[in-house]
């Protein structure tokens, strides 16, 4: 696990049951449904799933964060690898892959509240991307734990909406994602 920044006690507990899986897949219709079925059949909950095109034409990358019984994970990785459209499936749980996530957070706030919010934004290295009369939109990226932490600090204000990208990751050095 990479260093947990701003972690809260219950968050630390939670992340230990989370699995980080990367898939390199052929971009065929139905591949997402086939992948999702492996998770649902074994009672795994998908926390986040990011699909994007890969460097190689006709292929996609999937990064999946998932929670469920750790003993089932080995089975799931094999079931995923067995799918014909999946070129490879890698479990990154416990390795030092670089990972990041983006969140957009919209706050309803009065002008009195802005000062404290902007302090938090600055401290976290976030950015205000929309500045309206009674609302702010904040963009932050970093580890999922960092995003959890700012969300927690902003919880005292009125959060109108949060959209998170879901985690993406890449193996370090010569290791394969």
């Amino acid at each position: 696990m990479s260093a947990v920044v701003h972690s809260l006690p219950d968050e630390a507990q939670r992340t230990s049951d989370f699995h980080r899986i990367s898939l390199f897949v052929k971009n065929e219709p139905g591949v997402l449904a086939r992948v999702a079925m492996v998770f649902s059949r074994r009672g795994y909950n998908i926390e986040s799933l990011v699909v994007s095109t890969a460097a190689r034409e006709g292929y996609s990358r999937m990064t999946i964060t998932s929670s469920g019984d750790p003993e089932t994970l080995e089975q799931m990785i094999k079931q995923l690898a067995k799918l014909v459209d999946v070129v490879h499936a890698i479990d990154h749980t416990g390795d030092a892959a670089y990972e990041t996530e983006i969140a957009l957070i919209k706050l309803r706030c009065s002008s009195d509240e802005r000062h404290e919010i902007l302090q938090i934004v600055e401290h976290f290295g976030a950015k205000v991307v929309d500045f309206a009369r009674d609302s702010l939109m904040i963009r932050i990226y970093g580890s999922s734990e960092k995003l959890d932490a700012i969300r927690d600090l902003l919880g005292k204000f009125e959060i109108a909406e949060i959209v998170r990208s879901g985690k993406i990751l890449m193996a370090r050095g010569r290791a394969t994602t």
Binding site: V25, K26, P29, G30, A33, R34, M37, R41, E74, Q75, K78, Q79, A81, K82, L83, V84, D85, V86, V87, H88
Partner: protein, 571 residues
């Protein structure tokens, strides 16, 4: 320049011919008409079935009896969904099949067109892979890939859904095409390290048992597995689907193990200090209560599908590869063992706990199947349906050769027996095929009697008729205070008259004294299919019996006098 451009359907049929397809089992309909039209000019023989489920099981029976993919062709919508049970059956039992479904035109996809069913979505969970063909130019590649995927590695069913405008429109792609399957690889002979570890475990074993699974049949490893058993002096036990993987009449073979296996197979497995599973997935019918399964034994697992490793039991050594290639690589590493004491114990169990049945008090299914075995002596292909008769057939019919035993194991599909026998009869016309079915399952696909009759097949359909769904009745008797619910098949037709209505010769066995005479007559009958109806006692139970979720040592050998607790395992 060629004046006539092939249609997608014509190109498809050419591809099937190139794959060596002899038969297509199917039923037509609107969205598949162009493909059926292209079949008119083909060397491939179309077998028109009476229901798409029948077509799927026929293709399955063809595949199990040959090892080559069975091919199904049906239309869209209900035609396609009627194959789903057949797909599940083949998927659970690793049977190679290619199922081609018609589909409504691409412009109508997702718009609830007439007879549209999103069949690729419906079938994701029961196929090895599937395709929705969106460009006619993909037909040659997809067909090549479908057969390759179905027939190699761990075999399974592949579905190809073809919209009508694709099959009807022109196809400019050449007949041959490169496959593009970067995510698919086929394990071969196992890694040397794992082989060495396995050899070391085998050499130190004192009470070894070889568990022969379906993988032995699929990879044609009979010779290698028998050699290994003989070299080690290891008894062989077989799963339901592994029957015939090694000759069941071999002195080291103890027959089927598991829930309704022989007592001696189960006792040997329970007492073993090493169990080597070859192409078996440690099904719950074998292991019973998993965390108490053979705790005293080390385990070796040979499988072509690594997803089976550690799924049920956690073996000491896993070898990923083809059963035959692995065994052939392992044999030179293994020295003979002296297991004479162990074999003496096993033989004592065989003598003490033989399979038995009562010959008085009415006609018994076991008697009929015991005599069928004596009559056919392993030279017939035996196909079964699902239920009590299936377990009795598995106990009493000794299968001596691979691919002579066709039975729905994983899915337990009632209605499988007759159509699978028909598929096998097309595949191997020189051999008798006995379909052993119950009255319940038979009636699910009995319309295929017409298919057997029209083609004058050497199918002999033995109906074990107790006018009950007997296996469920047995559970209700033993575990539910005999509160019978939904098991009485009152209103069964006279199956002899039913067969005659199809123009099929029919026999009836009523008394134990009729068994040998009638079976011999049916066996000798060579003018086409025949039906033998055995009117057996209504209430009888399959023993030995390990209740679901119990352990091998909980085996019930005879009907108990005290009340049994409800089983904890699934079904």
């Amino acid at each position: 320049m060629d004046s006539k451009v092939a249609t997608g359907a014509e190109r498809l049929i050419e591809c099937l011919e190139a794959e060596g397809v002899e038969y297509i089992f199917g039923l037509s309909g609107g969205a598949a008409i162009p493909i059926f039209d292209a079949l008119v000019d083909s060397s491939i023989k179309l077998i028109l079935t009476r229901h798409e489920q029948g077509a799927a099981h026929m293709a399955d029976g063809y595949a199990r009896a040959t090892g080559r993919p069975g091919v199904v062709l049906v239309t869209s919508g209900p035609g396609a969904t009627n194959t789903v049970t057949g797909l599940l059956t083949a998927h659970m039992d690793s049977v190679p099949m290619v199922v081609i479904t018609g589909q409504c035109v691409t412009d109508m996809l997702g718009k609830d067109g007439f007879q549209e069913a999103d069949v690729t979505s419906i079938t994701y969970a029961v196929v090895k892979h599937s395709y929705l063909v969106r460009r006619s130019g993909d037909i040659p590649r997809i067909t090549r890939e479908a057969f390759h995927l179905a027939g190699t590695g761990r075999p399974g069913p592949v579905l190809v859904d073809i919209p009508k405008n694709i099959s009807q429109g022109p196809c400019l792609a050449p007949l041959t095409s490169e496959m593009d399957l970067p995510g698919y690889s086929i394990p071969s002979h196992g890694s040397p390290d794992n082989l060495d570890e396995a050899a070391a475990l085998l050499s130190s074993a004192q009470r070894p048992v070889l568990l022969v699974g379906h993988g032995v049949v699929i990879s044609e490893a009979s010779k290698a597995v028998t050699q290994l058993a003989e070299r080690l002096g290891a008894p062989m036990v077989s799963t339901l689907l592994g029957k015939g993987g090694a000759d069941e009449t071999h002195p080291l073979h103890l027959g089927m193990l598991g829930m309704h296996g022989t007592a001696y197979a189960n006792k040997a497995t329970d007492a073993a200090d090493l169990i080597m599973s070859i192409g078996s997935r440690w099904d719950d019918r074998i292991t019973g209560k998993l965390d108490e399964f053979c705790l005293g034994a080390k385990k070796i697992h040979v499988d072509i599908d690594p997803a089976e490793f550690n799924k049920m039991v956690v073996p000491e050594v896993c070898i990923e590869g083809d059963a035959r290639l692995v065994l052939e690589a392992l044999l030179p590493l293994v020295d003979p063992l002296d297991t004479s004491e162990w074999l003496a114990r096993v033989e004592a169990w065989r003598k003490k706990y033989p399979l038995k049945y009562r010959k008085q008090g009415g006609l018994r299914a076991q008697h009929v199947l015991d005599r069928l075995d004596a009559l056919t002596q392993g030279r017939a292909i035996i196909s079964t349906d699902v239920g009590q008769h299936q377990m009795w057939a598995a106990q009493f019919c000794k299968v001596t050769e691979s691919k002579n035993w066709l039975s729905s194991g994983g899915a337990g599909t009632m209605g499988f027996g007759l159509p699978a026998a028909i598929g096998a009869a097309f595949a191997r016309p020189d051999q008798d095929v006995w379909a052993v079915v119950g009255d319940g399952g038979f009636q699910m696909t009995q319309a295929e009697l017409a298919t057997a009759a029209i083609h004058n097949l050497r199918v002999k359909c033995l109906i074990i008729n107790n006018n009950y769904l007997g296996m469920v009745r047995q559970w209700q008797e033993l575990f539910f205070e005999n509160r019978l619910s939904g098991v009485d098949l009152e209103g069964n037709p006279d199956f002899v008259k039913l067969a005659q209505a199809y123009g099929i010769k029919a026999f009836r066995i009523k008394r134990p004294g009729d068994v040998d005479r009638i079976l011999s007559q049916a066996d000798a009958y060579d003018e086409g299919p025949c039906v033998v109806v055995a009117e057996v006692v209504k209430e009888d139970n399959v023993f030995p019996f390990i209740p679901a979720g119990a352990t091998l040592s909980d085996m019930i050998i005879e009907k108990p006098t005290e009340k049994l607790a409800k089983p904890t395992g699934s079904t």
